[in-house]
Each structure stands twice: as C-alpha cells, then as structure tokens.
C-alpha cells in the first residue's frame, strides 16, 4: 500500500472515530435531557401531592371551604401530571402499580367528595399515604435513572479515550516505523556510497513510494559504480599511456644522443682505419724483416678493433647494408623464412628445434622490408644465443583484428629477470660477455619497430624462457622516417 493511502486511511479512521464519538455523545446528552424533563415532572408530582396533603390537613383542622377547594385543585394538577407521564410510569413501575395507583387516586377523589361522612377520613389518609409513597418512589427512580445515565456517559468517554490512545498509538507507530526505517537505511547506504563502498544493494520491500525510491536508489548506485569503474580504468590507461610515452621519449632521446656520438666518432675512426690500412699495405709490399710479422699482427688487431667500433656506430645509426629504402608490400611469413635461412648455420650448429606456426592467410604489410628483416634478425639471433644447445624456438604469426600482424618469437632459454626486462631496450645495455655484444641490437630493434608504427613487447619467466611479440600494422602511416 502506498504511503499516501496509508496516511489517508489513518486520517480517515480518526475522522470516523471522532464522528462516531460525537454522535454517541449527542445521543447520550439527548437521553439525559429527556430524562431531566421526566425527573422534573416526577418532582412536580411529588410536590403536587405534598400540597394536596397540606390542604387536606388544613381542612381537617379548620374545616374551611378554601382548603378543600385548594385540595381539589392540586389533586387535579397531580392527576394531569400522572396522565402526562403515564407511559413512563408504566415503564418504570409496571402495569399493576400504575393501575393500582390510578384506582387509589380515584378512591381518594371519591373519598374527598364524601369527606364529611364518618369513617371516610381514616380511609382517605391511608390511601393518601400509599399515593405519596408512590410519588416519592417515582421521583427517586427517575433520579437513579439519570444518575445511571451520567455514569454510562462517563464510562463511554473513558473507553473512547482508551481506545483512541491504543489504536492511534499502534497506527502512528506502524506509520513511523514504515517510513522512518527505510529512510534511515537509505541514509546509511548514501553515506557508505559516499565513502566509496559499492558492496550491496538496499533491500527492496513492499510496494509504496519508498520502494520506488529504493529501486531508483539501487539503479543510481549501479550507474555510479559503472561510472566509477570506467573512470578508474580510464585513469589507469592514461597512466599506462603516459608511462609508455615517457619510456618512448627516453629511448628516442638516448637514441638521438647515441647517433650524434656515433657520427662524430666515425670520421676519426675512418682516419685510423686508413692509416693502419696504409701501414699494412706498405708492410705487405716490403721485404721480410724481423718485425714484419709482428707489425702485421699489431695492425691486424688495430683493424679488428676499428671494425668493432664500426659495428657499434653503424648499428647505432641503423644503417642497413641493403639499399631498398622505399616501402613495399610483403608478407611477414616470407621475412621470417628469409631471416631463418640467413641464420640456418647458427641454428644447425646449436641443433635448435625450430617450431613454425605461420598463419597462411595473413595480409601483406606495407613497410620497409630491410629494416623489418633487421628487427627479426636481431630478435631471432638473441633467441639463438639465449637457448642451450638442443633448445627450442617457436615462431608464430597471427592476425589481430585485420589491422595488424602479430609475430611471436618464443624461446626456452633461461628467461630474463624482472629488473633486467625494464632495461633491455635501452642502448648499450647488454648481458653478454664483454666484447660479445654491443648492447644496441634490441634498442635498434625497438627504435625501428616504433618508427615503422609497430609495437614490441617482452614476456619472460626465469627458468622457462622468453617471448618477444612484435605487432606490425598492415598499413603503416609512419614509414621509414628517421
């Protein structure tokens, strides 16, 4: 039931109660008023007869006509009054008494007419006593009656007050509890939600306005929770993007710095290369001497080390030995096969099991083939270096939402510890022995992939292996830019 209906019903009940009580009180007062008229008449009757007796006494004392006349006049009044409330007397005193008193009055009247006859006076007086006691009785009865009526009314009002208190109290309590309790619960949940707790819904009970409020409140809570969740997710993504951006920015800056240094070093390196080369040329042409072999050895070592430096600077500059710098369409499956062909000897030498799962229907990508080759060459070479002899490398290609081709290169090598993973794309970071790695392979790989609009991720677990995932867009907008 609706709260409005409940309130209507409660107020309706109170109005009904007031009307009933008012009606009863009115009826009661009306009965009392009627009764009061009767009491008055009964009193008159009693007084009339007392007058009759007073005149009777005077007549018997003085035997005067006036007294007899007064007696008769008052008797007449008495008779009229008795007749006037005859019905009431029948009701109060009974039919027999009424008839008896009528006869007594007739008798008394008869005797007053023959008052001078002997023997009649005694009869008359005894009859008068009967009538008088009757009149007094009547008056007394009427008084009792009205007193009973008053007591009744008093009780009636007492009961009414009692009933109103009990019933009204119960109704008020029900209304108060039915409205206040759900409101208090809603207030509590509101505070909880404000504090960020979206644990449970408000219990939905009944079918009133508060129920609709509870349903609406729960709906609001759901929407709020969804909004909060998507907000949190958005903030988290934003943080991730920001971190990624900072990382990319850092790598780009380091890459630029390294490239600048490489450029500056190349020229003096070229001079050393030529000078040492010239020495070798001259020695080659000269006659054998004690020192020729030793000098040739020294020069050879110098040229070797120049070559080492050259490898570093050339890798920093991402210089591709190939000349195909324009973009072309090609399949990454093809590229993977080419890279594996190129590394065939290393793979055979270490007896590595190669698992290939190349999706046959991947779309061709448009990119710089030479640079992409370098990316996979670096990653697969690293994988070969990482695994033990007889290890396994799995390479797979898949299509991601028709938009990108994903290449995953998984090895079962020793894996990369978490603190190292953060640094593997940084220039000059290497875990290989001194002289074995430049620490540039992966940073160049990263730089190329990002430059070509792709992405590269690493997943690794120590003792289980490492997976490199390269995502290349099918249509790259940022092609081969430096």
């Amino acid at each position: 039931m609706k709260i409005r209906d409940k309130l209507f019903l409660a107020f309706g009940f109170y109005i009904f109660l007031a009307v009933v009580l008012g009606f009863l009180a009115y009826k009661e007062l009306q009965a009392i008023a009627t009764r009061l008229v009767l009491v008055e008449t009964a009193n008159d009757i009693s007084n009339n007869f007392l007058e009759v007796r007073r005149h009777e006494k005077n007549f018997l004392l003085f035997r005067d006509k006036d007294s007899l006349q007064e007696l008769k006049k008052n008797l007449e009044k008495f008779k009229n009054n008795i007749n006037a409330i005859g019905l009431e007397i029948v009701k109060e005193m009974g039919d027999d008494d009424y008839r008896m008193i009528k006869e007594a009055i007739i008798g008394y009247e008869y005797l007053t007419d023959r008052i001078n006859e002997s023997g009649s006076i005694d009869n008359m007086r005894s009859m008068a006593r009967v009538i008088q006691s009757f009149a007094e009785n009547l008056s007394k009865k009427e008084m009792e009656k009205i007193s009973a009526l008053l007591t009744n009314s008093r009780l009636l009002f007492l009961y009414a007050i009692f009933i109103i208190l009990i019933v009204g109290g119960i109704i008020n309590m029900k209304l108060a509890v039915g409205i206040a309790r759900p409101l208090r619960l809603l207030e509590k949940r509101t505070r909880e939600i404000a504090a960020g707790s979206f644990t449970e819904h408000v219990e939905v009970k009944g079918k009133d306005e508060l129920t609709s409020l509870e349903v609406a409140f729960n709906e609001m809570e759901d929407r709020l929770r969804d909004a909060m969740q998507s907000l949190e997710l958005a903030v988290k993504r934003l943080h991730q993007k920001q971190a990624q951006l900072v990382e990319t920015e850092k790598l780009a800056t380091m890459g630029k710095f390294a490239a600048g240094v490489a450029h500056e070093i190349n020229n003096p390196l070229a001079i050393i290369n030529e000078k040492a080369g010239l020495m070798k040329d001259i020695l080659d042409m000269s006659e054998d001497s004690n020192y020729k072999e030793k000098f040739l050895g020294i020069i050879h070592s110098m040229l070797d080390n120049v070559n080492r430096c050259r490898t570093i600077t050339h890798r920093i500059l991402g210089f591709s030995r190939r000349m195909d710098i324009t973009s072309s369409s090609f399949s990454l499956n093809e590229t993977i096969n080419e890279v594996l062909e190129f590394l065939e000897r290393d793979i055979e030498y270490k007896n590595i099991h190669m698992g290939l799962q190349l999706a046959p229907d991947i779309p061709e990508i448009r990119s710089d083939k030479g640079q992409i080759q370098q990316v996979f060459l670096n990653i697969v070479k690293n994988a070969i270096d990482a695994v033990e002899a007889g290890g396994a490398i799995d390479i797979s290609t898949t299509v991601k939402a028709e938009q990108a081709v994903v290449v995953s290169i998984k090895d079962n090598g020793p894996g990369i510890p978490e603190d190292v993973i953060k640094q593997i794309f940084e220039p000059f970071f290497t875990t290989k022995a001194k002289g074995k790695g430049t620490g540039l392979g992966l940073s160049i790989t990263y730089g190329i992939t990002r430059n070509l609009g792709g992405n590269i991720f690493v997943k690794s677990e120590v003792g289980k292996g490492t997976t490199f995932i390269v995502e290349m867009p099918v249509n790259s907008n940022t092609l081969a830019g430096e």
Partner: protein, 126 residues
C-alpha cells in the same frame, strides 16, 4: 690505364691516406680537401668515379653531387661519409648517386664498389 678516382673530403688526413692507398692499388687518384675546389678539379680533369663526403664546411655534398651530375652525368659518385641519415641516403639515390657508404669502410669493399662504378661510368660514356 687505371681508373680515375677523385676524393672530395674535408678530412685531410683521411683523404690523403685513402688517396695513397688507392694509388698503391693502381688507381689514378686525386684528393680535394676544400669543397669549393671540387668542381674546378672535375672540369679540368674529369674522373671516372668521385668519392664524395656529404658534410663539409662551405658546400654541402649534395649540392656538389647535383652540379657534377649536371655537368657530366656519366661520372659516377659514391657518397662516403661519417654522417648519414636516411634522408641523405634517399636524396643521394634520387640524385643518381651510385652508392652510399658509411665511414669507416673496408678497403676491399670500397675498391669493389669503385670498380663497379667505373664499369658503369665507362658504359655511360659509350
């Protein structure tokens, strides 16, 4: 008669040493270390192949490449530089440079490329 090679590089030590080494290998080599002198040298005695540095004070290597190719398209130019970006490389290829090599370079690789360029230059002339 040996292949005529002109080295244009502002690094004097590099240019002269390379000049000597190529001379030892039978090439007829000259070295120019000032960019502005490059064109007069080409005009006075046209070489078969030019080894051209890209970044020099005074004149950009790309400009020299353009003028040389305008003057004598049959001369082949190998860009040999310590500073090479992809943009330079692209531009060089567009302007018909024979090859782009990043310093330092192995002498055998270099002579191999010079020989090929000279062959092409000879074909150009015929």
């Amino acid at each position: 008669m040996g292949t005529k090679v002109l080295i244009v590089d502002d690094e004097v030590e590099f240019a002269t040493t390379l000049c000597e080494r190529l001379g030892l290998r039978g090439y007829e080599t000259r070295a120019i270390c000032v960019a502005q002198d490059a064109l007069p040298a080409v005009k006075s005695d046209p070489p078969d192949v030019i080894l051209l540095d890209l970044k020099m004070p005074g004149k950009n290597g790309i400009e020299i490449l353009m003028t040389v190719k305008n003057f004598a398209p049959e001369i082949e130019v190998i860009l040999l530089t310590g500073h090479m970006s992809l943009d330079n490389k692209l531009e060089g290829i567009k302007l018909d440079a024979f090859d782009c090599i990043l310093k330092p370079v192995d002498i055998k690789e270099l002579t191999g490329k010079i020989d090929k360029a000279a062959e092409k230059s000879k074909l150009n002339r015929e």
